[in-house]
Subunit: 334 residues, 4 copies
């Protein structure tokens, strides 16, 4: 024990200690590694869960992608899970600080009710549940529905600011017509609508609309690192999907291989359709429809599609956090 | 001539003179009066113009609503005209500082090309032509089309900042697909789109979309002064239609009569459908489908619908100018 | 009279007429010319006015720089005057839509009270009187004070939105300490201060502070077109001086000659100290301390200093109007 | 082990697991407790450190306030230390993602050089070192100087985005004059200054200026929860001190006792002068000049001064983070 360690030990009881500034060059070293989850595993787990979790526990039929390098979450700030709701089931109403998103990957005919407005859930639909909005889900169809639950839960944990509240009843009363916000938030906008300075309104981005955009723009060069990249923006202001999360659709055209870059945001990707690969650092991850993978921050990465029809990825990242706090940096691989 | 007048006369040759501050209470006194134009007059004038204006002069087949109290314009800042383009005709390409808008009131099957993108023009469609964007029009259908041309021409004159340029060819080359911007500016937005800090992109607000919004929200209480009021917003940011102009659709439900107010913005209204009246000051103006009227600033006014089916008005005002410069004020009639 | 003129004449009675679009190339052609006012004229006029305008009419002892090409104002949007207040006189309290500024050019020891706060007025001080703030002036010193009154009066006229109100008493009660806003708006800012989205607070920019900045930065290259250029910014947000007006101090170092440019904003310059010249179009204007001159929009111009000690200009322009409405353009002379 | 635990254990090897949503009411429960550090301890520790840390290790002569409930930091997002630099010593140049602040509590005559500009450091001065700006310190006086180092280090750790770089030489070359930014960022602002959208410029808030504001506003009612509260704002935009940190001066007038509230931001307070107490939850902390204490988020708290002359606190909090991400909430104690 040198004299500095000895100093620290002595002052520890007064809650004082030398500040260990390290003068050497350092870059972000994420505390976790990339991870790939195969759809066949998740599918089987969901089937089992459908059997062992009862209707009363329906809200627990959500299976998280666990990054084994982390205590919780798929990255240090983001989590992703698959939730399945069986025909007739209700996931009970509650709200929390945690911001959530739904992206439907199988089935349809269900709805999520947010702040009194029912939003239909069909395959490919993307629905936002902003922080502290009441929400419940109901599957009124005759087959199970499966969606991806994305959230900033790990960030909420790090920042220690999580509030959570049950609604008091199993379901909210629907006080607004289904699809109403699609009309209220259109470019011909009612006079009573005005944007909140921070929170976007709950919103449903219909797959039929997203698909039209992909088709209409399929020939465009797109982004050098991410293919044809669509961002789900706040429909009122054009800002990021949510204050802490950006969600995106990424289309890799047949045989498209992107350039490599790295950035201080982390991301989770889900393969909506097609086949391809992502190289992260010196590791290559082969993926196909239904697979999910996590990208740590500041790792070099690029994507490629394999199949004749290209591939479509759904992606969620924490870039808005990094940008707003002044921490966003990006580098192109030379 | 008193001593002050004599002072002024003496110093006039040096370009100096007493500043005449008037210490009394004053409110805005518009230099012009309300004006109502009947559709049957405009219709007949357009028919005559179609005969006497040749195809080569097609760009002149635009008939302006002239407010007799003003040298030009329908209000001190805004102008409105009706343009008709006959089958096969082209209105040649040019651009100018003046911001323009088109609202189709009769016919269809035509297109306006703006910055290389053709925008279809069908009845009820509203298309913006932001300041300094190249534009030309073409009627490829078999019947004449008539639209309202709205613009900030009088404001441009007052501010003396008008630039104007012919294109060099009769028509622009179409470098973008028809309807492309509808996809580029959707809430699932391509990564290459980013808003200009001031100018919105050219945009087409399809009547079929506007109508859906009106139908979906028809039961809402709406605005106390304007009925169910939809604002055409900048699709990228939610800001006003254009930097100097706000365009709106106003639906008065059957027998709806609004409250009276006044404001420092002026407006031009066109009756898209239905029948009703507007009271401006102590004068009542009865209007029906196709009529157009001008509202001076700071005049008390309210609207009412007559017909069983209510009425739909298209409105254009200069409120963004007044708001940005800090001059917007509004008062509710007690 | 050709067939189109005949058409117009016939339809005039219905308030309709052909829209005369001119397809040729056009640039802004200001309706007025540059103008230079010599200090010895203004000085003599002020002296005369001090004799013929009584204390009761003190608010009229303001002599405007009249641009002979315009009905009112020194440019189409801006006006400038010299106001003199004699020892013991009060210019009575009122408010108006018109935004005003004061720049003290002779004397001192007076004060302007704005919204209950007295602002001292010393030579070189610049004080803003935002739209619709109550204000009155008092000269408590033993010598006359002279300041430049700048305002957006002509713009207010063009937009027809002028309100004006007498206060009811000759002077406001001082409810705030002299110099209070200097402390309230400092970078260590009290929690109760929050910026208005459009209007800045009334503010005094002390000459002693401005002069320190000029001295500290005197060696910097500055702006290629305007020498060392300081802008008086909204102390709360860094935005323009006022919503419609930017005020600036421009220091031309000894023998500095700037590059030539033109822009869609117009300006009024006052020579605070030194000697020099400004070339506007092909005309050269020689100026010296106390002179004032007007620059129309879109005219090529450059400045030069003559004297060994350089020159300091106070300038006021309407650039914020042009920028906010999307009309600002600037070109460097090749 | 129930069936759900058994499920989890089985799927763990595939990195899948049930998402444990807890439907009960929850509020933030900070992972740490308040802590008070006495000045006499810190003073003694600094004296010892001055002896055992050599000039070559000068950058290590920084003693952190360690919250015993946390691995690092005084709150979960913020750290505070005391740094002492002896006469003639240099703390070598480097930069990092971590945002830092200096608040001088003893001595003076030193300087911190940031991005080539030397900033004098005198007692009470507050200087910001924004993220990724080069900085080094030098004590050119004849006595030790002590300042508080505040930083968002723990937040940087949580977000895992820390970059760090040595400069290559012990000190930066001074390329700007001392005090230059005070002039460049004044309300009469040079044309070349324009704000970065996120990062403020490095800035020195001189104690003599802060003190003048405190004196001028001493009679104002101030904030109900914090006394007379001054926020150090971004001098260019009026925004928060730094993207992740707000720093404040809080004056409690003699015998002033504030109301109690709680909020989702956490804070560290340092007693610059005076005596008083802070009640956090049901614990009362008595403090006097030189003491430091940490306030966890979402704890009820109020402050009171004791001494005849009142008290002045320097405070640092993470409110900008919570506000930007949409997580800020505040409640007044009923």
């Amino acid at each position: 024990m040198n004299r500095l360690e000895e100093f620290d030990r002595r002052w520890e009881k007064k809650n004082l200690g030398l500040f260990h500034a390290d003068p050497r060059y350092r870059e972000p070293q994420p505390s976790y590694e990339p991870c790939l989850w195969k759809w066949k595993d998740m599918e089987e787990a969901l089937k089992e869960a459908s059997e062992i979790v009862s209707a009363e526990e329906a809200f627990r039929r959500t299976i998280a992608f666990r990054n084994p390098s982390l205590k919780r979450g798929a990255t240090h700030t983001l989590l992703m899970s698959c939730q399945t709701v069986l025909p007739g089931e209700i996931a009970p109403a509650h709200r929390h600080t945690m911001t959530a998103t739904r992206f439907v990957i199988k089935g349809g005919g269900a709805q999520t009710t947010i702040e009194g407005e029912p939003f239909p859930l069909e395959r490919g639909d993307f629905v936002t549940t902003p922080s502290r909005t009441w929400h419940d889900h109901y599957n009124g169809s005759s087959e199970p529905i499966i969606w991806l639950d994305g959230a900033d839960g790990p960030l909420i944990r790090l920042l220690e600011i999580g509030f959570s509240e049950p609604y008091g009843a199993k379901q909210q009363e629907c006080t607004k017509p289904s699809g109403g916000s699609l009309y209220e938030l259109a470019p011909a906008r009612p006079s009573w609508v005005s944007p909140d300075p921070i929170q976007p309104p709950p919103y449903r981005y219909r797959w039929e609309d997203t698909e039209k955009v992909l088709k209409a723009l399929g020939e465009k060069p797109g982004d050098p690192f991410d293919g044809l990249l669509l961002r789900f923006v706040n429909p009122l202001t054009g800002g990021p999907t949510l204050p802490t999360i950006s969600c995106e659709i990424q289309m890799l055209r047949p045989k498209e291989v992107t350039k490599s870059h790295r950035h201080t945001s982390s991301a989770i990707y889900h393969v909506f359709s097609g086949k391809g690969f992502t190289v992260i650092g010196d590791q290559r991850y082969e993926w196909e429809s239904g697979d999910t993978f996590a990208l740590p921050l500041w790792r070099w990465h690029h994507h490629g599609s394999r199949s004749g029809e290209g591939a479509i990825l759904f992606a969620m990242n924490d870039r808005p956090v990094m940008e707003k706090l002044g921490f966003y940096r990006e580098e192109e691989h030379s």
